[in-house]
């Protein structure tokens, strides 16, 4: 131990351990809740509440869809669109957000557009996108791009302008110039903000892709639901909905895991 005994010691691992058993208990509760939900669903459909398929029927449909390969190809089509639009959106948003945060001139020029387009739900752009870009992949990816871009750019910009002045000063007095401060202080300091934007951006990308496919697509989970609606195929709609939910959840978890790794240094209150 150090020769100087500070009154407040470093955070003890014992505290973490005490919290450690909680997730297991939470997991049990979560599983119980899900089983309970499926039980109620079964009960409600068995009694004959209008139109809803039973859990078993939905499960059978899921198995059939997987076996026919349709579910996989639909999920892959939706995922591909989301990833293309999302990655493009974030890749453009981060440098633009940094520009806005670092250079007041860039901020003045870009901010009105960002703020204006932010008030328009990306879904509202779909009709325009279809008219101007046709019904291929481009308009869908563009709309997703827009959704991801707008959330991430605002978060990045916020991150840059809220970098602690003291940290910048600390770097300056150690001899750092603007470029070094930007690379070694501003970028890491704004990572937590960027990750919040990325997470929200992924959520809105996923929401947008399904809606875009409902309107105009020949593949994808949204398209499959649209078909299910036409043919009164409720199990297929359920299977698509559940798949959308699961994939969205998995993607969100991946972003959370990445966030944990990138911002593990943060002091959480």
């Amino acid at each position: 131990m150090s020769a100087v005994g500070d009154a407040a010691g470093p955070a003890s691992p014992a505290a973490d351990k005490a919290r450690g058993w909680r997730p297991n208990r939470m997991l049990v509760l979560n599983v119980v809740a899900m089983l309970l939900g499926i039980g109620i669903w079964e009960l409600v459909t068995a009694v004959g509440v209008v139109g809803l398929p039973t859990p078993v029927a939905v499960f059978d449909q899921a198995v059939a869809s997987i076996e026919s390969g349709l579910l996989i190809s639909d999920a892959a089509a939706s995922l591909a669109r989301v990833l293309a639009g999302f990655v493009l959106g974030v890749a453009v948003a981060i440098p633009v957000g940094f520009l806005m945060g670092w250079y007041p001139t860039a901020r003045g020029l870009i901010e009105p557009y960002v703020q204006f387009f932010r008030t328009i739900p990306p879904l509202a752009i779909i009709p325009l996108a279809i008219v101007t870009m046709g019904i291929g992949e481009v308009p869908k990816i563009f709309v997703i791009f827009l959704a991801a871009f707008l959330t991430s750019v605002v978060a990045t910009f916020q991150g840059v302008i809220s970098v602690d002045r003291t940290l910048i000063n600390a770097a300056r007095v150690l001899g750092a110039g603007d470029a070094t401060i930007f690379r070694r202080v501003v970028i890491p300091a704004s990572t937590p903000f960027i990750m919040v934007g990325v997470r929200i951006g992924l959520g809105s990308s996923w929401a947008t892709v399904v809606a875009a496919e409902l309107i105009a697509a020949q593949s994808g989970l949204g398209f499959r639901m649209q078909q299910g609606q036409l043919y009164y195929d409720l199990p297929t709609i359920f299977v698509s909905l559940i798949t959308i939910g699961i994939l969205g959840l998995v993607m969100d978890r991946i972003v959370i895991a990445a966030d944990r790794r990138l911002t593990a240094w943060q002091e959480k209150a």
């Binding site: 131990m1 150090s2 020769a3 100087v4 500070d6 009154a7 407040a8 010691g9 470093p10 955070a11 602690d164 003291t166 940290l167 000063n169 600390a170 770097a171 300056r172 007095v173 150690l174 001899g175 750092a176 070094t180 070694r184 202080v185 890491p188 300091a189 990572t191 911002t263 593990a264 240094w265 943060q266 002091e267």
Partner: protein
């Protein structure tokens, strides 16, 4: 001998849309000798932090100038190390990486950098925490890391802005003693801002007392106590007398003037 740091009629006026609204510092003139330990004490609004930031090159003066070794300060520089009250450690870097930060900027090769960093980490007794992130450290350990980071680039001057202000009383005393030990060895010039009268007297060769509204120099009180300063000195009548003198100067400036 010419002074190490020289404030020459330094003023700082804060403006709102071009109109002066607040004089943070009014024509401060002060010479600090090489190797001297100066503490600056005064009520809030007396401009003590403003003066330090101007000397650090983080804030330009509205008029007047600060000379370091006879050269006018025009911005921050590694020969003036700064310790902030809020530690200002880079939270995403480990203790060692924080200490290496300034060394990296000088282009020092990696192996040497590490050697220098580890030396200063040991000096502040953080050897076991070299690979820890700041979030794992207590307040006192964070400030020791910040001190190691400042020492690592070998500044000729240390500018310290209430560095121990956020620490508990015991940790503060320990860090004061460590700081004095290091200072006795290397005799870097120190300008130490504080609002703690005890701390001001205990550390300094001279206590600079400032007054508020507008922030200005009130008086300079020499501290003729020997180094090393010890518990004994802290409890001595001479210390008490100086402490009272500084206290009265800080908290009852008008009373003193009329007396």
């Amino acid at each position: 001998m010419s002074p190490k740091i020289s404030f020459k009629d330094v003023s700082r006026v804060f403006e709102v849309s071009g109109r002066p609204v607040f004089t943070a510092l009014d024509r401060l003139s002060l010479d600090i000798d090489d190797g001297e330990f100066i503490t600056v004490v005064g009520p809030s609004g007396c401009g003590k932090s403003t003066a330090m930031n101007i000397a650090a090159g983080l804030l330009p003066p509205s008029s007047g100038r600060v000379l370091v070794d006879g050269v006018e300060v025009r911005g921050p520089g590694p020969e003036r190390g700064v310790i902030f009250q809020q530690y200002a450690l880079f939270p995403w870097l480990t203790v060692r990486e924080n200490v290496e930060f300034g060394l990296r900027l000088t282009g020092m090769p990696k192996a040497e950098r590490r050697k220098v960093a580890d030396h200063f980490i040991d000096l502040v007794n953080l050897g076991h925490f070299a690979d820890s992130l700041p979030k794992m450290l207590s307040g006192g350990m964070k400030q020791r890391c910040a001190i190691a980071r400042a020492y690592a680039v070998n500044p000729k001057i240390l500018l310290m802005d209430e560095p121990f202000g956020a620490l508990d009383a015991l940790t503060r005393v320990q860090l004061q003693d460590q700081l004095l030990q290091t200072w006795s060895r290397d005799r870097r010039t120190v300008m130490f801002i504080t609002h703690d009268v005890d701390e001001a007297v205990y550390l300094a060769n001279r206590v600079v007392v400032m007054a508020a509204r507008p922030g200005r120099l009130d008086r300079i009180i020499p501290v003729d106590l020997p180094y090393p300063r010890t518990e004994e000195i802290r409890l001595s009548p001479e210390f008490a007398a100086l402490r009272n003198e500084v206290w009265r100067a800080v908290y009852h400036p008008r009373l003193q003037q009329s007396a």
